[in-house]
């Protein structure tokens, strides 16, 4: 028996070692690809990659000088690659090149920005560069502060952000793109900070954010509600930085271009491979589960008594699909994505594997709440960079006039749009990759995405409009409106007919006046009662927003307000405790 246990342990260790090797291989593959760019086209990432490999450095140095002498731009997006180059130098650059780097932090004034990812990138870079030049006075820095002052300020900001995030949730939560600009600076601090506390805290935050992703990872695709995604990735779910990290960290999906280049810097900074338990959480979809999260809004400068609002997320995961939502409302500006059904596909490139509806809100109330924009130029200032913001057919963004309730794989979105609102309609996204789409006489629209059946019930009349790039937009110009969606797997219903029959048999009552209201019995036997503006009730009980956990599900556990995350899987428990700054992993009692 003992021998058997030893063999099992050896096999497990060997497997873990192989997985680790895979991670190191993927990491090196990424770095080598970046370093192989031809000399004249090298940019900062390529220069850093060559320094990491200790190959082709003279040409990299020449290119570095060209870039620095040719005019610097990019603010914190210049600071973080420069920080990597400075730390990967390790004696390879010439003294003049090193002096040029140093001088650039005086000659160029990088702006600190206006979002948390900007500030984390900025302060991480300031912390590490001040650490590198500890004796430099204010005359050496663009902001006139000494290295000591800069480092203390950076440390304070980073510590306060960690505390805020681990007690109240991330502000830019679950971002498909911006996840990179959180993992990247944290990997720098974990690798290069000399203070043990900063180093440890950063490595724990990497696990925290990776765990946050892992529980909502559908074969490499970040599912559920997002504080921020973008126009392309909101429909082509694979196309983003989160997929880069799914490939790099867990070996999922396929190697990507990479988007945005953030994963390369994580690799260059020796970003850690996630612990085995996280890989298992990211990949184990053997049983469906509901996962809850509590997050917070971005800073709300105006119109609210509290700086941060609460965000309550629900995500239902299966091996074939996920249904995820927040509670609705304008929780984040411009790039919020509140709910969808996303189905798994073997090769997600080019596939629009999702379905959802939204009210295409555009307005200064949102922009003034979250930004300092002037009222007359704010909308234009946004759409100059986020080009669809003020478009009636957009598929991205939250709305103050949407409310959402979810129970497992059923979701209800209700809309009560005041008269006079810009874009007084709702858009439903029907992908070009849906199959067997049928508008049933019952009012339900039935369809299939991959191995997932989806039933979509619009609550008001609609017409179809084409979408550039494929697919159709369900356009419903009614102010009081709603969508009821039920998903199920092909394992449960072999044919569309059997699914249709089951859904048509489900009791559904709704009314749109005076406020949209739905009562729906789901395929899982739960009854959702939901009136716009009121707390949803499941089987007669109102959703417990007050008791909503920071993380709640089979794999992640955490109470709101407590800086502690517990991960469990396969009889193993791993606990991140930010108060004690400890990581503890143990076999759970009773585990085999």
């Amino acid at each position: 028996m003992k021998r058997l246990a030893s063999l099992a342990l050896a096999a497990a260790l060997a497997w873990q070692s192989a997985a680790a090797q895979d991670y190191q291989q993927r990491r090196r593959q990424l770095i080598e690809k970046m370093a192989r760019v031809e000399d004249a086209k090298l940019h900062y990432a390529g220069i850093a990659a060559r320094l990491w490999l200790r190959e082709g450095v003279p040409a990299a140095e020449r290119r570095l000088r060209e870039l620095l002498e040719g005019g610097i731009s990019g603010d914190m997006f210049w600071m973080f690659p420069m920080t990597a180059i400075a730390y990967l130098d390790r004696g390879q650059l010439s003294e003049p090149a090193r002096a040029l780097i140093r001088k650039s932090w005086k000659a160029y004034y990088p702006f600190r920005g206006d979002t948390e990812n900007h500030w984390l990138l900025y302060y991480t870079s300031m912390y590490l560069m001040a650490q590198m030049w500890p004796e430099m006075g204010g005359e050496g820095w663009f902001n006139g502060k000494s290295s000591k002052e800069n480092m203390e300020e950076a440390r304070r900001w980073i510590e306060s952000w960690v505390k805020l995030t681990t007690t109240k949730g991330q502000g830019e939560y679950d971002c498909t793109h911006y996840i990179g600009v959180y993992l990247l600076p944290l990997s720098y601090l974990a690798a290069w900070a000399e203070e043990p506390r900063m180093k440890k805290q950063a490595s724990m935050m990497i696990e925290w954010i990776t765990a946050d992703f892992a529980a909502e990872d559908l074969d490499g695709i970040y599912v559920g509600a997002h504080a921020r995604t973008d126009d392309r990735q909101v429909v082509e779910k694979w196309r983003g930085v989160s997929a880069d990290f799914a490939w790099l960290l867990f070996g999922q999906v396929k190697e990507t271009p990479p988007f945005g280049g953030y994963s390369i810097f994580y690799a260059l900074a020796d970003g850690p491979e996630p612990p085995e338990i996280l890989r298992r959480i990211a990949t184990d979809r053997s049983r469906p589960y509901t996962h809850l999260e509590r997050k917070r809004t971005r800073n709300r400068w105006r119109f609210q008594d509290e700086l941060h609002g609460q965000v309550y997320k629900t995500t239902y995961m299966t091996k074939d699909y996920a249904v995820g939502s927040d509670q609705g409302g304008a929780l984040q500006p411009v790039q919020q994505h509140s709910w969808d059904v996303t189905w798994r596909v073997d090769d997600p490139e080019g596939v629009h594997n999702t379905l959802f509806s939204l009210h295409p809100y555009s307005g200064m109330v949102e922009l003034e709440e979250y930004f300092t924009f002037s009222p007359d130029f704010g909308t234009e200032a946004v759409w100059r960079s986020k080009t669809t913001y003020d478009s009636p057919d957009k598929l991205l963004g939250g709305s103050p006039y949407e409310r959402i309730a979810q129970s497992e794989d059923a979701v209800i979105a209700l809309y009560d749009i005041p008269p006079g609102t810009r874009f007084p309609h709702i858009n439903g996204f029907f992908s070009k990759d849906l199959e067997q789409v049928e508008e049933d006489s019952s009012g339900w629209i039935f369809c299939r995405g991959g191995r997932t059946w989806i039933a979509y019930r619009p609550l008001a009349p609609y017409v179809w409009k084409p979408i550039e790039g494929g697919g159709r937009r369900l356009f419903s110009p009614y102010l009081k409106n709603g969508t009821v969606v039920q998903a199920a797997g092909m394992d449960e219903y072999a044919t569309l007919d059997s699914f249709r029959k089951a859904v048509r048999a489900l009791p559904l009552k709704f009314a749109l006046e005076p406020a949209p209201r739905v009562e729906f019995r789901t395929l899982r036997g739960k009854t959702i009662e939901f009136t716009y503006g009121q707390t949803p009730r499941i089987d007669g009980k109102p959703l417990d927003y007050a008791g909503w956990p920071a993380f709640g599900g089979p794999f992640l556990h955490g109470r709101a307000g407590e800086p502690r995350l517990e991960m469990t899987h396969g009889g193993v428990r791993r606990v991140l405790d930010f108060r004690a700054l400890t990581v503890r992993e143990e076999k759970m009692a009773g585990a085999k």
């Binding site: 702006f111 206006d114 204010g138 105006r302 007359d376 130029f377």
Partner: protein, 326 residues
């Protein structure tokens, strides 16, 4: 020799006792991600050309200096208070706890105050240390702030819910006017310390004749429902005031802010961010027109011509006494 020196100094002083400073960003033609176009602090040189002084900066919103020390400027910036000294050296005076400053003011006794996204702060040691003065305010978005230039301790602030006044440097606050309206700017007359003017988002122009204790709405016809951004008192004429905004363009009052006339003839569009009267040239008025240019009028806004800074958004202008070495 002594006579020659005297004449030289006198000639210089006669030429310009103040230098026009403009804070802004060139946005026309700029593409997100590209290097900043000329932006930050612009200073009009003696030859009339503009110089983008110091670093390029994307968000400078206001400038102040302590009376008698114009060689040192204090800028409200997106990343804190920036001090520029006589040698042109920049130094950020604040820390990680403030962001996106909206306004800054210097008042009696050398006190400084600024408004930021979550409140207002003051400094009584020339910016070395700051303390928050927002306690007691129902909402704290710090859009506008002016310290009384004569009476130490009096400060008028603009929030998302109108204007508040404190006579003990933020110890206590009372609502002064424009309740329910987002404040945009407040200014004190250089002629009459009891006359203050305030402008709002969609609420029009408000006027105080009791030292900022109470503000009353003025006839709003010219600016009804529009957003007003800036106020300028004419240093040469106690009764002339200009305000500007998006839609109304430039509005000028010749009766101390009681009635207003639009003065946009010759402006390319009536969307104006900032106005300033030249204290050395009576009747000369500048206007920052959205993404067009800075415009200048020699007749208090009756006619206009472009005067540089093409494609810019100029958020604030100030004539700084030309006594500093900078």
């Amino acid at each position: 020799m002594r006579v020659l020196v005297w004449f030289t100094v006198a000639a210089l002083c006669a030429h310009a006792e103040h230098r026009l400073h403009a804070l802004g960003v060139t946005t026309k033609g700029w593409v997100v991600g590209a290097a900043l176009l000329p932006s930050g602090l612009f200073v009009k040189r003696a030859d009339g050309a503009w110089a983008n002084e110091g670093y390029r900066h994307p968000l400078l919103t206001a400038v102040a200096w302590i009376d008698g020390s114009p060689e040192t400027l204090f800028l409200a910036a997106g990343d804190g208070v920036i001090r520029i000294d006589a040698q042109g050296r920049w130094r950020v005076l604040t820390d990680e706890t403030v962001t996106e400053l909206q306004d800054i003011s210097a008042g009696a006794g050398g006190v400084l105050a600024f408004g930021h996204t979550t409140g207002f702060r003051v400094s009584e040691d020339r910016g070395a240390t700051w303390r928050e003065i927002s306690a007691g305010l129902p909402r704290r978005y710090g859009k506008a702030v002016r310290l009384d230039r004569l009476r130490k301790g009096r400060v008028v602030i603009g929030t998302e819910n109108g204007f508040y006044v404190s006579n003990n440097l933020g110890g206590t606050w009372q609502l002064a006017g424009a309740a329910g309206f987002q404040a945009m700017r407040v200014e004190q007359s250089p002629h009459d310390a009891s006359l203050w003017l305030a402008v709002t988002q969609k609420g029009g122009i408000f006027r105080s004749t009791d030292g900022g204790q109470t503000f009353e709405a003025t006839p709003r016809d010219a600016a009804a429902g529009r957003n007003l951004y800036d106020i300028a008192f004419d240093p040469a004429d106690a009764r002339r005031i200009a305000v500007c905004g998006w839609g109304p363009g430039v509005l000028v009052s010749e009766d101390g802010g009681i009635t207003w006339q639009a003065r946009n003839q010759g402006l390319p569009r009536p969307d104006v961010w900032s106005v300033a009267f030249d204290p050395d040239k009576p009747g000369r008025l500048y206007a920052g027109v959205h993404e067009e240019a800075l415009y200048v009028s020699e007749d208090a806004g009756k006619t206009w011509r472009a005067d540089g800074l093409p494609g810019s958004i100029i958020l604030k202008m100030a004539f700084v006494p030309a006594g500093g070495a900078r």
